[in-house]
Amino acid sequence: MVGCNRSWVSLAAAPLALLAAAAVAAAPVEFSEPVAVSPADRKAEAVEVALDTDGRLHMVWVDKGAADNGAHEGHHGAGHDRHHARDDLFYTRSARDTLRFDAPVQVNREPGEVWGFSVSRPRVQVAPSGSVHIMYPANADQDSGGTALVARYVRSDDGTRFEPPRTLNTPAEEDRSEIVHGGFSAAHVFGTLGVAPDGRVHAWWIDTRGMAEDGSSAAIWSAISNDDGHSFGDDFEVMGSGVCPCCQTTAAFTHDGDTVLLGLRGVTEENYRDNLLRASTDGGHTWGEPVRLNAERWQINGCPLKPTAVAADGDRIYTAWYSAVEQPPGAYFTHSTDGGETFSAPRALHPEASLSDAPVVATGGGVTWVVWHARTDEGRRLFLRTSTDGGDTLGDLVEVPGPGTGQAGFPVAAATDDGRLLLGWQQDGRAWALEARAAGDHASHTHAH
């Protein structure tokens, strides 16, 4: 059990006990105190977390420079006529089963090469062996003379010492700087990492190769490692077109690893931007037809910057995403009970809020967690809802306690097998973490694979 050195706050026990009587399968939630993970004198953004089998929380974030830095100067210099990134990537991990973190270490070796923000976050995953895998977008000069955004990857045997970064994408042959955002010659960004139960490391990213001439539709490419990230096979195309260029991809595996799930936002020639789920049953090499998750179709010729989050527990698949056209607009949840062939009607997570956005979903130990940020009278705050019946019902919403200052946003989450949730987010220029615990024994609710 965890939590030996922290205080717990039960915020939901009473109302959720009442809800239980109304046949809503949700869990009362207790929270640890929030912990500031990034240094106070630096600005952190784009937090990501992963959990290992020993109960350590691994966290990365993009470092935007000194907290008192002039915002428009840039901490790695400014003023030249190129879209060079100026950020760095930091990593830390907690001790086992407690939110005490090691001193952060810089992951990138080329200072300022990291390109990231709240919805273009770096990714971290931990393999069953304990090896740590990180992917992030980085600037790289191309032989053509242009600058590309590449899919950079770095690994560590145990999170204490990182190998030199590598680039997963093969160089794009064409210069697309006239149509790619920011004038890059090519972009291989908005990606995600996944580690299968057998240790295979998968990387996916949105790619400008084959991009529509108007810049409205991109592709998804992938690279796979069969040796714990020591080497990757050649990258290959997963979707040649029809991908929203600015909506980060997400991935999940069924527990036995037989099925790989990819969450994305598509785009049609008419600019319908549907939330899509694709599944692969051959280890990510070929993919089934996309399944649409949304009911109402959002048509916009713009940059939504809205991912489609996905989590899986056996045949139960959970997704969370934003829509501007469902009623009311905001964060939504859907689930599947048949391995992703069909999905429930979208359910609004926070219909009372004037804004609810950036939802993520995680599942483990019989508890499914959905977390998002929403506008309140006190500013933007985090909220969550739980389900202990495989997503069939969701409990009442619960506000996540934070430091109380600044705008909380862009949560990330990892669920344990004993009903806990490790949360990360950004607030007031720092990366934060806390642990939520679903009271009671939920193991009996775990769905068979």
């Binding site: 400014a78 108007d214 713009g302 804004l355």
Partner: protein, 164 residues
């Protein structure tokens, strides 16, 4: 939808050169308070506020239309205000250079708030961070219309003229 508070125009003039001479920067970094002052300085006019970014392809395709609207309504009680949502840490000079190369004559403010949300909250605390977003403010500074996604000059003109 909120009404913008009145702030001394004198304060605005320290922040925002609206009539652009050849050597005037096309990019003016503004804090959220300063941006609020900019908008307050336009009360009495219909204001079109556009959130854009250099990494947003639809935003860039929309800029010529916005410049056409500004030119078409130059003699009306109208003001055009662009706010770049680019990462403020990448530098105003980079945005300036980008504009010089692609959109000569275009002027914009650049948020210095670290989060897009904070800059946008001056107009719309519930902004959903979709780009491009355009607001039409009426003569009292109230948000009359929100428009999201790439639009043409004609579509903007229709939206603005409803309030002129």
């Amino acid at each position: 939808m909120r009404r913008l508070p009145l702030i001394l125009v004198a304060a605005l003039m320290c922040v925002a050169p609206l009539a652009v001479a050849d050597d005037t920067p096309a990019v003016t970094p503004v804090s959220s308070d300063e941006f609020e002052a900019v908008l307050s300085g336009h009360e009495g006019k219909v204001v079109l506020v556009n959130f854009w970014a250099t990494w947003c392809a639809p935003c860039l395709r929309e800029i010529p239309a916005l410049m056409e609207v500004e030119s078409t309504l130059a003699d009306e009680e109208f003001a055009f205000v662009a706010l770049s949502m680019d990462d403020p840490y990448t530098g105003a000079a980079m945005i300036q250079s980008f504009i010089d190369r692609h959109f000569e004559g275009f002027t914009t403010y650049l948020r210095t708030a670290s989060e897009m949300h904070d800059a946008a909250a001056v107009i719309d605390p519930a902004w959903n961070e979709i780009m491009p977003t355009t607001y039409i403010l009426d003569r009292e500074g109230n948000v009359a219309t929100m428009i999201q996604g790439l639009k043409s000059a004609d579509e903007f003109l229709v939206a603005v003229r409803e309030h002129l």
